[in-house]
Symmetry: D2
Subunit: 347 residues, 4 copies
């Protein structure tokens, strides 16, 4: 840790906002890589919003403007050199910044957590379809909400994040970018913000990492189904842990270790995340599973990620302060944090 | 708000830790009141731990020491003068302090979120039954965890709360103190801490308020089913909002309004809490429901309360900072906070 | 089994259709017995429909005509002499016959399986509230359906049953007659028809048996929430199996043994019913649980009972033909069938 | 309809039981067609059992003998000429017959409905892994069960069916053959037997129809996760309804129309199937949705299909007798039944 860090290699890959929607990528798995990345590299990239930029005013309705086949385009996939099934991909978010001074949220017919859906199939007609425009003040770090039906306004903290981060799934599956699962995908957790490292188990050669679905902010649960959606400029450091399976996506910040689970019903998402955390804590602290179960039971924060996607996502979040001196994932987070600092200071 | 506040009336009622378990109260509804309280009064009381103090060492197993009919005794019910169906009972927690320098957690056969249960009925034998003793350091505000199978230890922040707070249910029902619902009951949310006001819809004359199940702390979800259980000394201010229905329990702190929902599957608990929040925010801000849905979607924190009880509990938590100058529940929280301050300064 | 059977004692108890709704019984537990029954007796009784007869034409809407506190009145409770916790009450349905030549179904705001409800809490307004009147042709055994909005009609087989059959719950609980659970209650399974024996675990002295909610017929699931509701004249034989716990209600017909489970989500109702069946089959056939699991997996019919009540109910139904020569529940079904025959032939 | 029916074209395609497991097809979508079929043709084919024939004795354990990537091989996909998105593929099962005189069932670690699974993630170790061999007596139409741990035996009716029947999914997805959904797939319903017509919405050009997972019989729910698995010889008639979307798979027998829904929790599978049935009945009878809701509520049978796969499957089953003279799906079932008869009489 002494001496100046070597500058990481930087790969730049921008998505073309003018690209024909049908030519963008809407799946995890099943698409050819757009670039190759060496582990340890910085990736400087950008993402379209989930509507591929088609919603331009509060008069635009998703059901009229968007083709349902072309929702939630991803940037990628990126082929990570040397990645093989059984490895873990580590992705550290150096920065996630809205590209424009606006974001958008909507209701979408039969989508969201307080409405009938295609799955919670009921006889109700869809709720009204509405579109909210937000001003994003990047200087003041504020997202400005304005009600549609009354003059009510409120300033909300800017808290940029990616809803969709993942790799190609196992078993030869190709999954829509609307779905979350053990490959990551559309987890929609506000914990996926700058400063965090995301760990994803590799299922196919090259991992085939993609990301998208930037949110200027979202509530936990993404209740109406749509966050403050915006195009993003995002910088990541990408790394590889060889021969390290990670069954479900994990996150690490300076202060917390986090696990995710994605399933319906929501208690199964909770169970997956908690069981993963119990096993991780047992491994990190050398405790038995029953002891780790006890420690997690008294210390886990359990924020909801989404209750709207094809399956729902929960996060288990344990403070590192109760884990003693243990270093998760062989110190990857600290190492990537340093690489990020080196990159930022070189700019 | 000018001049010194009048001192509120103080009612003292302690539970007798030596009382025969069969004579304690284990239900909401169905029991005769132990005392009568005038709205505006301070109630100084105490509660037994959920095992009625029967677990005294890590050698004690719940299934051997406790009678399954006599789990989670409540202090109360208290008859609140003037309370009628359609009113709301407000309960402000002035202080919640462990009575002893120890707490206890256990696993219980077929109870918890990472085990087969009577409801998630599977062919597995029960997980091992274990008991963890915690030292509670009230001066340092620390709960000391010690693993059973290895020498691992960790200091956790003391964060006392009540798992069970409620009134008699509607429809003439009598419900076990193990169950949460729209009457409150065993919600097991760590948000039920000192400084918070809890609002409960009144279903029967006198409301019949009870509380119990003190926790020195718990994780969100109470994953293993049992928090750091301890007897408590608790001071509350009790108030009444006439002709104000509250369909599901709400909480208010200085910075947040909170709603709860209790149901299975867990997404229905989430839906109840979120819908209650949307309606409350609409009412508070004068927005339409669709606008309030949008604002809640971008601002709600959504911590899990429990995923272990007869039904599960979720909390929706919106910062008052996005609600403008509105005053929830006619200023009850501020008023009870002042009464609490007057009481505390008089001691 | 030789010689003519002695005539069983007959207890007659009719419910008064003119009784003031507030004086009827709407709970399991919490009410004083209306009569006492000796095991082995025939009970000849009658039940009101779930609306207490208030819906008299297709112009009557439940939300206008019925007080929500007074829905689903029960006949009973009956005190069964000698019944103690740990026993099983056996109730054989000799006959269940509509008292009138009409029945009624409705939609009820925010109730049913294809609508938002109080629990699956959504932003949708309630579905339209409608009332369908059915002619019941007791001679032709037909229930005549007529659409409200078009001239469409269809004749459906008359298949009378009781939606609600149960005893007082455990743990001192008092439960609304709208709820199903391990005490029975509002299970709403069409299997509860004449010729069937229902077994219920006894939780309190005297068992406190009640029944109601007659249906001229219903589909599996009771999808809209309301069957073809009608007042019933019902004859049962009541018996007691001492020192025989029955954790969840069971049914037995000439050809099938059946178990029930009531829970949400619906898979937990399925799991309860299947696990109860696996254990029952293991006990009846002397097989291990793993072998019984296999046999049940290949032979169980699994009809839905209801997906509309406070929790949902599933039935597991295994043909006796795969159980060899074993005699379930010590031959109670055959014995009560004989008593029923003796009673019927004496009329 | 007069005169002898023309003999349908017959396509024969057998799966090679010696084929290397890694070369078989385990997905819906993502594989090249094995043959092309003209609508109206008979397809005479065969399928491997879900273990690709690897389980040969009760000593074989799935976790030891099978590669988890190579479970549930499908025969196909078949390219159906002229099939386009928006069409419906009709598949009539002429005959489904076990190829061998034996079948096999097993438990599989962390798979089934009465065990912890990867999704209902718990701390329990897996249940014991066992394998049951069944003699299939094709002459007597009997499947012979023999317990492993005791001498208990039982003869069960032979009732052959396909667990897995489907087309390529929408949105460019490729789904494991272990998953059921709106494309069909691993629905595991015993209703998929000879004499039934299955309707599947077409998502991609050519439909890409596959089938597999033959069961000599199964209980409703497939409780332990594995039916009496066997290789099958199956004859189908394949047809196409142009410009006829079918959102979820439907089945039709001589006496019933059936819809399916696949989701978790199980009540959502129920809701999907019931809503599809309400809409189908409304369309067939010219009734409004509210009237069809009522008629379905009183007449639907609601058997469980599976409670073990990646999502669960329910069936709604309404007798044609209550649908008047209406002819579902433009008479396709009757037409294919005639073609089947013509084919069989020509043999």
């Amino acid at each position: 840790m002494s001496g100046p860090l070597p500058l990481p290699e930087v790969v730049s890959h921008d998505i073309d906002p003018q690209m024909e929607p049908s030519r963008l990528v809407y799946t995890f798995g099943g698409a050819a890589p757009v670039a190759s990345i060496r582990p340890g590299s910085v990736l400087s990239t950008s993402t379209l919003d989930c509507f591929a930029g088609r919603i331009r005013s509060s008069a635009d309705k998703v059901s009229q403007v968007c083709d349902p086949r072309f929702i939630n385009p991803q940037t990628g996939p990126f082929y990570v050199e040397g990645a093989e099934p059984g490895d873990t991909l580590a992705v550290h978010f150096v920065s996630i910044e809205p590209r424009e001074a606006w974001g958008v949220s909507t209701t979408v017919p039969l989508f969201g957590s307080l409405t009938a859906t295609a799955t919670t199939a009921l006889l109700h007609p869809a709720l009204p379809e509405r579109t909210w425009f937000y001003e994003i003040d990047r200087a003041d770090r504020v997202v400005r909400y304005a009600a549609l039906d009354t003059p009510y306004t409120a300033d909300l903290p800017l808290d940029p994040m990616h809803g969709t981060v993942g790799v190609a799934p196992a078993l030869g599956e190709v999954r829509s970018s609307l779905a979350p699962g053990d490959w990551g995908g559309n987890m929609d957790t506000p914990e996926m913000r700058a400063g965090v490292t995301c760990y994803l188990g590799v299922n196919v050669e090259g991992a085939m990492f993609s990301l998208g679905d930037g949110h200027a902010r979202q509530g936990e649960g993404e209740t109406c189904g749509v966050a403050v959606e915006c195009a993003m400029e995002t910088v990541l450091v990408v790394d590889l842990l060889k021969a390290t399976p990670t069954p479900w996506p994990r996150l690490e910040s300076d202060d917390f270790v986090m696990t995710t689970g994605s399933a319906r019903p929501l208690e199964d998402a909770f169970r997956i995340a908690q069981l993963q955390m119990v096993r991780w804590v047992a491994e990190l602290t050398g405790q038995t599973e029953m002891d780790a179960y006890q420690l997690v039971s008294q210390t886990s924060l359990s924020p909801v990620a989404n209750v709207v996607d094809t399956v729902y996502t929960m996060v288990a979040k344990v403070p590192k302060s109760v884990l003693g001196t243990t270093v998760p994932m062989r110190g990857t987070h600290a190492r990537l944090r340093s690489a990020a600092a080196a990159y930022l200071s070189s700019r």
